[in-house]
C-alpha cells in the first residue's frame, strides 16, 4: 500500500473568538517520523525537540525561557508520524512579545550543539529507562505498533530507536530542517481574540520560509500473515498491560469512518463507563481499571478524557486497550475482548443501542472543542483529511446515519481474525502463558468475591471460546526499539 502525504494548504485556518482574552497559534508541518531516513530513526523527533528547546539565532534557549516566563507561555512542539505541530496559547496582553519569539524559533532556529547533545541523550534515556522499563501501558501500545506495521516507520516509536538516535549528528538535524520545514509543508492556524492585521502579519513572516516541495510517499508494509499473533514483552510487572489491534483501511477521509466511529463508541469509548468492554470487564468482573477501544491513533490531551488534536495519520488502525490486569485473568481478557469485537462484527448493534450511542455522540462530540485552540486543532485535522472538523462532520452525518450502515461498517472493517496482541508480561509466568495460548487451552477464571450467575454463565462460554492463535513470540523489553 502506498499513500501520498496530504498537501499543505496555503490559506490559514481561522477560528476567531473576538471576546476571548487568549490567542492560540498552531503551525502544522507535514513532516513526521515517517520521514526519518533509514539509520537515523528519531531525526524528526529530535529536530522537533530542538525547535522546542533550542532557542533561535538571536536567543539562546535560556534567554528564550527567560522571555517566555513572565507571560506564562510556551512554544509546544509535538512530533507525530505524519506531522509536526508547533503551538502555543498566550494572553492577548502578551501577544506581540510571544509572537516575536515564536517567529524567531520558526524562521531562525539556533541548533546549538549543547542543546542537541542534551536532547539526544534524553531521547535515548526515554527509550531505555522510561518506555522499556517504567511505562507498561505505553510499552504495550508501542509493541502493538511494531506488530501492525513491522518495518514501516509507523511500527516504531516516534522518538526513534536507540541506535537511530545515537547515529544522528547535528548536521543531520540542520539539513532535515532545511529540506522539510518549508512553507510548502506548512498549514497555519490562528484562533481566539487576535487583533486585526495579525493573520496577515504571520502569513507574511512565514512566507520567508524556504520553498522546497518535497512530496513524501510512504509504502506501508502491513503484516501479511493471517491469524491472531501474540507478542509477549517480558519485564518485571505486577500486572499485565495488553494492547490488541489490526489495521483498518478507513480514516476520517472515508464515509465508512463515521458509522465505524459509532460502533466503536458503543464498544469502548475512551474513559467512559458505558462502553461494552468497560461494563463487562471492569464493572461486572472487577478485572482492572479500564478497557477501551479506538479506530484511530489516540492520545489523551493532558488530564482530560478528550483526544489530542493534530495527530492525523495517512492510515489508521483499530485497537483495544486493556489496562494492566492480573496475570491470572490475562488469557481470559484477550478472549473476552476479541469475542466482543466478533459479536459486534457478526451481530451488529441493536436499534436501541444504535439510537442511544448516536444520541451520546451528538452531544459528547461538542465537548471535544471547548476552547478556541481545540476548535482550531479539529478544523486543521479536517483539512488534513479533506473534510470539515470531525465535530461538524458528526453533526451533519449522525442524524442521517442508520443502524444498517453502522453494522455494515462493523462487518467490513472489524477484521479481528488477523488481530495482533501485545502483552507486557512478567518473565515468571510468561512461558506457561505462551504455551496456553499456543494450545488454545481453556482459560477459566475464579473470583475472590461474589459474582452474579449470569456473569458466571458467560464466563464459561468465554473461557472455552476458540481463540486459535497462529503465532506466539516472546521478547525481552530491553530488546525492543534498539534499531
Amino acid at each position: 500500500m502506498s499513500l501520498p502525504a496530504p498537501k499543505a494548504r496555503r490559506s490559514p485556518s481561522l477560528v476567531p473568538s473576538p471576546d476571548s482574552p487568549l490567542v492560540s497559534v498552531r503551525l502544522l508541518f507535514h513532516v513526521g517520523s515517517v520521514d526519518d531516513p533509514p539509520g537515523k530513526e528519531g531525526l524528526a523527533a529530535l529536530t522537533g525537540a530542538l525547535l522546542a528547546e533550542g532557542g533561535s539565532r538571536g536567543l539562546t534557549y535560556k534567554e528564550l525561557l527567560d522571555s517566555l516566563y513572565p507571560m506564562a507561555a510556551s512554544i509546544d512542539v509535538h512530533v507525530d508520524k505524519d506531522v509536526t505541530v508547533l503551538s502555543g496559547t498566550v494572553h492577548r496582553d502578551n501577544l506581540d512579545g510571544y509572537y516575536d519569539l515564536l517567529r524567531q524559533v520558526v524562521l531562525t532556529p539556533r541548533f546549538d550543539p549543547t542543546d542537541f547533545h542534551r536532547l539526544q541523550v534524553d531521547h535515548v534515556h526515554h527509550l531505555e529507562n522510561v518506555l522499556r522499563a517504567a511505562d507498561d501501558e505505553n510499552l504495550g501500545k508501542e509493541a502493538l505498533a511494531t506488530m501492525l506495521y513491522e518495518e514501516h516507520p509507523y511500527g516504531r516509536p516516534t522518538i526513534g530507536t536507540v541506535q537511530g538516535i545515537r547515529s544522528i549528528r547535528l548536521d543531520d538535524v540542520k539539513s532535515f530542517h532545511a529540506a522539510r520545514f518549508t512553507r510548502d509543508q506548512l498549514d497555519l492556524g490562528i484562533a481566539g481574540g487576535y487583533p486585526a492585521g495579525f493573520v496577515e502579519r504571520v502569513q507574511a513572516d512565514l512566507d520567508e520560509l524556504p520553498s522546497c516541495p518535497l512530496p513524501t510517499e510512504s509504502s506501508f508494509r502491513l503484516r501479511s500473515r493471517p491469524g491472531i499473533e501474540v507478542l509477549l514483552v517480558t519485564k518485571p510487572a505486577r500486572a499485565w498491560a495488553i494492547s490488541i489491534g489490526f489495521p483498518i483501511d478507513v480514516t476520517r477521509a472515508d464515509d465508512d469512518y463515521y458509522p465505524l466511529l459509532l460502533a466503536n463508541s458503543y464498544l469502548g469509548e475512551h474513559r467512559t463507563f458505558h462502553g461494552v468492554l468497560m461494563g463487562k470487564m471492569r464493572s461486572d468482573r472487577g478485572f482492572n481499571y479500564g478497557d477501551y477501544s479506538y479506530i484511530e491513533s489516540f492520545l489523551q490531551e493532558g488530564g482530560s478524557p478528550f483526544p489530542l488534536p493534530n495527530i492525523p495519520r495517512r492510515t489508521q488502525f483499530f485497537s483495544i486497550w486493556i489496562r494492566p490486569i492480573e496475570a491470572r485473568y490475562a488469557h481470559f481478557a484477550i478472549r473476552q475482548s476479541l469475542r466482543e469485537v466478533e459479536r459486534l462484527q457478526r451481530e451488529g448493534m441493536t436499534a436501541a443501542s444504535f439510537a442511544a450511542t448516536r444520541e451520546f455522540l451528538l452531544h459528547y462530540s461538542r465537548l471535544w472543542t471547548q476552547t478556541a485552540s481545540r476548535r482550531l486543532g479539529y478544523e486543521m485535522d479536517g483539512r488534513f483529511y479533506g473534510r470539515a472538523s470531525l465535530v461538524d462532520e458528526l453533526e451533519k452525518r449522525l442524524p442521517r446515519m442508520t443502524v444498517e450502515q453502522v453494522n455494515a461498517a462493523a462487518r467490513r472493517h472489524l477484521r479481528w481474525r488477523d488481530a495482533s496482541v501485545a502483552v507486557v508480561a512478567d518473565p515468571e509466568g510468561a512461558a506457561s502463558f505462551a504455551e496456553a495460548l499456543r494450545t488454545d487451552a481453556p482459560s477459566p477464571v475464579s473470583y475472590d468475591t461474589g459474582t452474579r450467575p449470569e456473569v458466571l454463565a458467560e464466563d464459561r462460554e468465554i473461557s472455552a471460546w476458540p481463540l486459535e492463535v497462529s503465532r506466539v513470540r516472546m521478547v525481552r523489553a530491553e530488546e525492543l526499539f534498539e534499531r
Binding site: 513572565p70 534515556h125 459528547y364
Partner: protein, 402 residues
Amino acid sequence: MDSPRLMSHYLVVRAGSRNEVEPGLSGFAHFFEHMMFRGTERVPPEAYNRVLKSLGADSNAFTSDDWTCYHVTAASSALERIMDLESDRFQNLSYGLEAFQKEAGAVLGEYNKSSSMPLVTLFEKLRDLAYTRHTYKHTTMGFLRDIQDMPNQYEYSREFFRRWYRPDNAALVVAGDVDPDRVFELARRFYGSWEAGAARVTPPAEPAQTGERTAHVPWKAASLPYLVVGVHVSAFDPDSVEGRALEVLAQAAFSETSPLFRDLVLDRRWAESVVGFVPARRAPSLFCVMARVKEPSRLAHVREALFGTFERLAREPLPPERIRAVQENLRYRFLRSLDTPDAVAVTLGEALQLTGETSCVDRSFHALERVRAGDIQDSARRFFAPENRTVVTLGREAEAGP
C-alpha cells in the same frame, strides 16, 4: 471561558485521604469515590450510565489528600437532569456486597496500572518517612495491604457515607453558560432535602521533625536515579505572605528559569529534570523538590547542589525583578488556566474545600503581590533547615543508595 452552551456541575466533598484516621483503612476515601457510581434504588448504575450517555456528558471523579470531587460537564440544557441524578446519589446511595467487592478489584487495578512507574513508589516512600502521625503519611491510593483488604470493609463503607457525604461537608459549583438564578432554584429543589450531620475529624498533628530522614528505594527495572526532598511547611492560608513566598521560591529556585535548573539540566547536564512545588493543603504538608538524574554517580552532586540552593535562598535575597517575573508568571498562568467550565469549576471547588470561601482566590493573589525578598529568605530559613527535610532516592536494585 469560550465554551458556549456548556456547563460543569462539580460536587465537592471535604473528605480525602486525610480523613483516614483508622488503621487499616488507608485509601478508603478514594475507594468510596468509586462506590458513588454504584447507584441508588431509584437509579441503578445501569440507568445512571444510560442517562449520562443520553446527555453526552463527560462524568468522572477524583480524590486527593483533602477532598473528593464529582464532576459532570455537558450541555447547559442538561443541568436539571444532571442535578436530579447527582442529588439522588448523594442522598440515597445504595449498593450490595457484590458491587462493592467488584469495585475493590477496579481500585486494585488502578493501583496496578501505575505500579511500573518509579514516581509512584518514590512518593509513597517519601510520605511514609516524612510523616509519623498525620494521615498524609499515606498516599490517596492508600497502602497496598489496605487496598487488598478493601473487599472486607463493606460495613465501613456505609459508615463512611454517613459520616462525610453530608451537605455541611460539601459544596456545589456550577460554572459555564448558565443562568445563576436558575441554578440556585434547581439547587434548592434537588439538594434542599439533603440531611446535614457531618462528622468531624482531626487527624493527629504531626510533631516537628528533629532530624534529617533518608531512605533509598531499590528498583527492579531499569530507571534513571531519582532524588526527592520533602520539607515540612505550613497549611494553606490564603492571606499568608509566608505561604505565597514559598510559591515564589519554588518557581524562582526550581523552575526552568532558575539558576539550579540551568546549572544541572542545561549546563552540566547532570539531571534530566528539576522541579519544585508546594501543594495547597488544609494541614501542614511537604514542599517537594525532585530531580531525575542522568547517571548514578551524579546523584550525590545533584543532592549537594540542591542543598546548596536551600542555603543560598536563606542567605542571599532574590533580585526584585526576579520576584516580579515570578508574580507575573503565576498571574498569567492562572488567567490562562480558566479557559473551560471545567477549569473554572475545579478552581472554585478547590478554593471551597480549602477555606470554605471562593474569596480565597483573590486574597491569595493579594498576598502574592506583597511578597518581598525578605519574606522569601525568612521562609527559607524557617523551613529549609536540614533537620526538617526528608530525602528519598530511587535507583536500580544493584546500585546502593547514597
